[in-house]
Symmetry: C2
DNA sequence: GCGAGAGTGGACCTTCCGGTCCAGTATTCG
DNA sequence: CGAATACTGGACCGGAAGGTCCACTCTCGC
């Protein structure tokens, strides 16, 4: 069964999200996943590092499915999609009591610092995320003001979201993040040409 | 002599900035500070945690002196001060090879996660920072558009800077951060009323 | 000169943790 | 059946790290 492996990754992800990578011992994961001895764990993973990569991969995938999917939803106006995406990030963070890291952020940075191969992967995650937003913004380029730089804006959006995630995590409170998200959406909206609003209210 | 103690804090700050709190052992600090045995270290600090608080305090103070001072410089137009401040954050991050955390960010969040008393302190640091920006924005309120919310904007600025710091740290590259900082300044500028520009070019 | 605090040097304890090894049982599938 | 694979349980190892203890020297102010 690969169920077990998946379950270990699940447990590890949740624990690492809450306590960080270093603060999560293999033993903790074993306990949480309901395994017995270490042998069982090392039957599936050759090291804690391998588990770390698996967790990062999982973040990668979940994020790609849930988060990034909305960025490509053909039913919505691109800019609207971006707004929905931002709201989604805020909401999922709120759902997890300002602790989980629905996309990147938080613990991933700790991991990036720990180990070069982790770092590369986190960077790739950032890049992939940026590219999604970038291509979305490319779609709406004709509607934007002159000099609009989608690549830059994509990074700006990500940085702001990450920072907001971080702040509300430290503060253990979501309201700050909500305000920031609103302002961020407003900022994006300011780049739309007058009279070139999307087809929504 | 309190020199020694200060020197230990100095070493610890630098190490923690580079490698994180958990990744920095007391032994590392001892070596870096040029102490001899552990006894020497524990002569000044009763625990690693106490050292951690001292480091946080130092960050607090250095940041207050260098970073926040510019926010109150009476010689500059308030909005200009904010721009200078943003540039300063970018520059000092660049100087440290995208690794140091000139103000908060990075390792402080790791510490916040580690220990509740650390968390409270980091939160206080955030709050203090926000208040400085807030009061600066209060000064220029008459020049701003209707509905301008200084408190919100202050948090927005901080979140964006923190996120940018984080991204460029993972990427080990400053250019992304520079772009974000520019956009951030531009965003702030967009809230100024037409015809109410500051007295600079 | 004497006592306190600074500094030196290292042995040592304990706990935690990643990782190994092993011995055995349950399950499943050719 | 028989062999691989999944699972159980626990002993164990080696190293890192926080922290204690101790015996000793140096230096400075009273």
């Amino acid at each position: 069964m690969r169920d077990r492996r998946a379950q270990i990754i699940e447990s590890a992800t949740s624990l690492i999200n809450r306590r960080g990578y270093q603060q999560t011992s293999v033993e903790d994961v074993i306990k949480d996943a309901g395994l017995c001895g270490k042998a069982h764990f090392y039957h599936y993973f050759k090291s804690k590092e391998e588990l770390g990569h698996a967790v990062l991969n999982r973040q990668f995938e979940t994020f790609a499915e849930r988060g990034l999917a909305v960025l490509r939803d053909p039913m919505l106006d691109p800019l609207e999609r971006l707004n929905v995406f931002i709201d989604t990030v805020v909401e999922s963070h709120a759902e997890q009591g300002c602790q989980g890291t629905p996309c990147i952020g938080g613990f991933t940075v700790e991991m990036a610092e720990e180990n070069e191969s982790f770092r590369a992967r986190v960077e790739a995650l950032f890049e992939r995320w940026a590219e999604h937003i970038e291509s979305l913004l490319w779609e709406v380029r004709p509607r934007m003001r002159d000099g609009f730089d989608g690549a830059r804006m994509a990074r700006f959006v990500i940085a702001t979201l990450e920072g907001a995630l971080l702040m509300s995590r430290v503060k253990r409170e979501i309201s700050v993040m909500e305000g920031i998200a609103e302002d961020l959406k407003r900022f994006i909206g300011l780049h739309v040409q007058e009279g070139a609003m999307s087809h929504r209210a």
